[in-house]
């Protein structure tokens, strides 16, 4: 029984991080029709920056202050996104989508090496945050309190993004732009600015995902590429461009993964990809995707 609770918590922890990543990916696709292959690397960048800042500050400041530094990674990644969209992506919106995929793949390669140069091969962690919060007891087991915070951030992010997109002025403009870019500009919306903001928001979510994961799992080279493919699985199951889909997809992937690991570890990834492939074949636009 306790072990079940633990498994559920683990799944929710994982789902929180995946949701942040996949929702950003989906948001960017929904608004500008681009699959950002570098999304996982931006997540990794968020993790590295946060871990780096926290490692630096850990000796100097009080742990409570360290928590304020947690979003550092997310902010750096947002700043990167705000530069990337106008410089790299904007010239390509009119070109076939292969080119958009290729350019973000190029960005992935560059980012991977930049992280290799700056942080080298040694894993970097922000464990002081994890330690500061201690543990909670779940029956006879213990569970890091920090992970509960991550779950809370995940829930909060899901609600926040939902409210942002469906309940704010910017959200209405965002949805309008994603549905009909031409008409949006003919009504007086500065579509270019909406694009930068949407891309920045997507990057912020990826960076935040990396930032909140790094106190409990060290940042390592290749983490971005690994998580990218999982984020693909999530958005494919949920439907590209759909926020509800990102949430449901993240939950499905996390729980299935936890379940499969119990029974047949070797098939963990295979089962996830298989689900994604099956969904794509039966419902090409995913569970919540807009029909084409």
């Amino acid at each position: 029984m306790d072990i079940l609770v633990l498994q559920i918590l683990n799944s929710l922890f994982y789902a929180s991080v995946l949701f942040l990543l996949a929702a950003g990916l989906s948001l960017i696709f929904g608004v500008m029709g681009i699959i950002n292959m570098a999304h996982g690397s931006l997540y990794a960048l968020g993790a590295y920056v946060t871990a780096w800042v926290i490692t630096f500050a850990a000796t100097a400041v009080h742990p409570a202050v360290l928590f304020l530094l947690l979003p550092a990674g997310a902010l750096v990644v947002t700043a990167a996104g705000v530069v990337i969209e106008p410089v790299l992506l904007r010239p390509l919106y009119k070109r076939p989508e292969e080119y958009q995929l290729l350019i973000t793949f190029g960005l992935l390669l560059v980012l991977e090496d930049v992280m290799r140069f700056v942080w080298g091969g040694t894993p970097l962690s922000a464990s002081p945050l994890m330690d500061a919060l201690g543990i909670v007891h779940v029956g006879e087991f213990v569970y890091p309190t920090y992970n509960l915070l991550v779950i809370a951030i995940g829930v909060f992010a899901a609600l926040g993004v939902w409210a942002f997109v469906y309940r704010t002025r910017f959200g209405v403009m965002l949805r309008a732009t994603s549905q009909d870019r031409r008409m949006a500009s003919a009504l007086g919306m500065n579509v270019g600015r909406v694009y930068v903001q949407a891309f920045g928001l997507g990057c912020f979510m990826a960076g935040l995902g990396g930032a909140i994961v790094v106190p409990s799992q060290a940042a390592v080279l290749g983490m971005g590429v690994e998580v990218l493919v999982l984020a693909f699985v999530v958005v494919v199951i949920g439907g590209l461009g759909s926020l509800e889909g990102a949430l449901v997809g993240a939950l499905i992937v996390s729980f299935v993964r936890t379940g499969v690991i119990q029974f047949y570890e070797e098939l963990e990834l295979a089962v996830l990809y298989l689900i994604a492939a099956a969904v794509l074949l039966v419902r090409p636009t995913g569970l919540f995707g807009r029909p084409q």
Binding site: E98, L101, L102, G106, L108, R116, E266, Y273, L280, P284
Partner: protein, 339 residues
């Protein structure tokens, strides 16, 4: 009828190229010969990929699976059936990859554009994860599992006998080189014929305007499937050669990053010209080698190169060279009908 210029152009291009290809084992150090072999193999893979990508207009991010299958199939055969013949290894590899491509392709061609890319990626990763997590090895009982634990999913492939001849270790690569050259020439010839057949024209029609292709009676999905399967043949062929050359095959060759490298090299060379993927593969392998040797950021270089190609040379190397008048002329003369 040939006019003199056609003959002259062919002599100008083919004689030096032929001489170089035949004499390479004597001219190159053993190390460089292996790199050159690898470039030839890689270009077969890129040419095969381009039948789906450039010609049919479908971006696949899962072609590594067929490349890897071409080597893994023979590797298992050697391990569990103790077969030492290169011919058997080779044919089993091609057959396996073809069947795999036919099966996966059948499902993938239901989608297009971004969904096709993701679907091929997902299937490719299924295959990758079966190897890297060991599920496939489990099927072969305790011995298979032990093999997985030792190699972490990679497999050793010995020097096999070629046409029944067992070569000494130092003789093996120069001899195997000619096998690769033969396979390369055969692949170029076959793919050229496919590209210039009515079927190839139909594929380009599908790429350029699917609606119109349907309208003029092309069975679009079926032809896409054929193209996918045929490209699986060449990927398997390249993979089998690679496995024997490197004497091992690892899950790295199954990963989507390898698929993406194939795409990258193809785009670098130019997807719209038949010879583009070959040029791209050569340059890609060359740059890869330089980057590896100087310990420069390998990925940064590839990433920046990709951006350069996308922004400045969208037609790739072949398309850009084609703008140089002299080269264009020779190229046109080369493209004339052979007989």
């Amino acid at each position: 009828m040939h006019d003199a210029r056609v003959v002259a152009a062919r002599i100008l291009v083919l004689v030096p190229a032929g001489a170089w290809v035949l004499l390479a084992p004597a001219a190159l150090s053993p190390y460089l010969l292996i790199i050159w072999c690898y470039a030839l193999i890689f270009s077969i893979a890129c040419l095969g990929l381009n039948l789906v990508f450039g010609t049919t207009g479908l971006l696949s991010l899962g072609h590594a699976a067929y490349f890897g299958a071409g080597a893994y199939a023979g590797a298992f055969l050697y391990r569990f059936a103790d077969i030492h013949s290169f011919e058997v290894y080779f044919l089993v590899g091609i057959l396996t990859s073809t069947l795999l491509a036919a099966g996966i392709g059948f499902l993938c061609v239901r989608a297009t554009k971004i969904h096709f890319a993701i679907l091929t990626l997902a299937f490719g990763q299924i295959f990758h994860s079966l190897f890297i997590d060991g599920a496939i090895f489990r099927l072969f009982g305790p011995l298979g599992w032990a093999l997985y634990l030792v190699g972490e999913g990679s497999m050793y492939i010995p020097r096999l006998t070629i046409l029944g001849i067992e070569f000494e270790p130092e003789e093996f690569i120069p001899a195997f080189y000619y096998v690769i050259v033969f396979a390369f020439c055969a692949s170029v010839f076959l793919l050229w014929r496919i590209n210039h057949s009515p079927f190839g024209k139909a594929l380009r029609a599908i790429r350029d305007n699917q609606t119109r292709a349907v309208y003029i009676g092309i069975p679009v999905r079926q032809y896409r499937w054929y193209a996918f399967t045929i490209s699986g043949v060449f990927l398997g062929l390249a993979g089998a050669l690679y496995g024997q050359l490197d004497r091992q095959i690892t899950p790295e060759q199954l990963d989507w990053l390898f698929s993406a490298e194939l795409v990258l090299a193809t785009v670098l060379g130019g997807t719209r010209d038949f010879i583009g993927p070959v040029l791209g593969a050569f340059v890609f392998i060359g740059l890869d080698e330089i980057a590896g040797r100087w310990a420069i950021g390998h990925n940064i270089m590839m990433g920046l190169l990709l951006m350069l190609v996308v922004f400045v040379f969208p037609r790739g190397l072949a398309g850009t060279l084609d703008l140089v008048p002299g080269i264009r002329k020779v190229g046109l003369l080369m493209k004339r009908k052979w007989l």
